[in-house]
Amino acid sequence: MSKQEMFKDRNISEDYFFLDIEDYPTTPWEKFKRVVKRSLKGELFVGLWVVLREMIKFDIHTVQYPEEKLPIGPRYRAVHEMKRLWESGTERCIGCGLCEKICISKCIRIETRYDENQRKEVGEYSINLGRCIYCGYCAEVCPELAITHGGEYENASEQREHFILYEDMLTPIDDVLNKKQREFQGFGAITPHEDERLKKTPLAY
């Protein structure tokens, strides 16, 4: 019993409080008394009243889903999007492969190649949405804010595997030029007002 010593004689009055639960009736007479007392108090009607009160409030919380949809917050983690640069409209992704490396369920696949100017270019980029767990780590590690999550969450499909390609995720170029692209605010986003903290690189050495 030595292991139980530590539970004995502790001063627990400050941190804990003892719940006051009355003793349960043991003899038939006490039980009978309690039944009578309860019935007189009308314990069932209390419950009925609580439910009735909720009912007549008409404070209805049900959302009729396919017709009505709740708004999705700016940090919601659903199907990925690939962003473009604001100024030029070129793709942000540089094919560094960090998202492929960190992905917990190993559902991102990237192939890169040289383009005609001997620069790195993303060739094949696909995400298997059937495996993705929407953890947001790809968005968090991306050093270019290229891969982010979007708000598209209705992705029922007939198969388990459901690949989404780079072109499907990429913001249409028109959206960028019309300034309709939305920055993702969730994991991996730059903290607002963070640039105020930033210091210029000292030039004088």
Binding site: L19, Y24, R38, G73, C135, P143, G186, T191
Partner: protein, 413 residues
Amino acid sequence: MAQQPNRLRPFFENISYEREDNELVVNFGPQHPSAHGQLRLMLHLQQEQIVKAHPDIGYLHRGMEKMAENMIYNEFMPTTDRMDYIASSSNNYGFALAVEKLIGLEVPRRAKVIRMMILEINRLMSHLFWLATTALDIGAMTIFLYAFREREYLMDIMEGYCGARLTHAAIRIGGVPLDIQPDFLEQLRTFLGKLPQNIKDYEDLLDENRIWRMRMEGVGYISKEMALSWGCTGPMLRASGVAWDIRKEEPYELYDEVEFRVPWSDKGDNFARYRIYMEEMRESAKILYQCIDMYEKCVRDGETELMAHAPKYISAPKLDIMTQNYSLMQHFVLVTQGMRPPVGEVYVPTESPKGELGYYINSQGGPYPYRLKLRAPSFWHTGILTDLLPGHYIPDVVSIIGTTNIVFGEVDR
């Protein structure tokens, strides 16, 4: 007589049992809705009474401990979500805290406050879920709907914070990934303002209800010795007459700065557990109010750090990564190779909504943990069913499983 099952002579368990001592074997689960996921209970019955119970687990086994040995530390975080998926941030937190202990990291205060808020929101979520499902198992459908409605508010708050409702991954090693969203405090205050009335409604519906009392009172009695010897923690232990809460005994985070008291009782039965859950919800609300004040003080004091500054282990903030070469290089190394904590081992217990959630990490200095052991409270609370159920009747099984609050993501891991 041992039977050799084959296609012509199938194995009829029940026949052989009945021949021996007239017991009926009933498989409770694994698909029974009140068996909380994937619990299979093999009950040996004498009429309606249970004489032997054998919980059979493993239907949700994913081998998390082994998975952890093949993952860098950061990568394991979303996996912990899938343990106690009712309150996933508390699992994230336990892991983050263990790794922080291992590398000796001090988390900025603002991150700590946010973490506390997330933890207590998760505790409320878990307790509301517990109340809803237990009441539903026992037949009180109204409570289920009400409690789920309140839980939905909390899930919305969490969704606004981290973007997911169930598997949050909302805590990082060394801090939190994001600041809270602009309307977080306001939403939380609205919710907390409504909570006392809601809890009172639940209690009005349940406390005096004679069906509820009959299903709860004196059912599933766990004595102090039994609770201690079966390794019960959390509300299960506190209902059995041991006042023990890790938030109080070994305070982590800022739990030593907030004022709250932990309920305990010596009744040891379902009803005591129910009361403890209800009181803990009230205490969580108190903690949340204090956290809101602490957060506002942090904002006033101009503390903006959300992640600890430790370039060896933690990537720099995104803006630094995008503007400074050294941060970018560091980030690439940390993502592709992972952090390498020093050689050593830690065991860090935290008080998850269900009890003591402990992470044991043995690090050999490599980017992967050499061994990671998870101590999940529900596992032990499943074990006690062997000892607890005999003597009870079939309907009591449901209410006892309900009040043990076991979640199978956590038991099987």
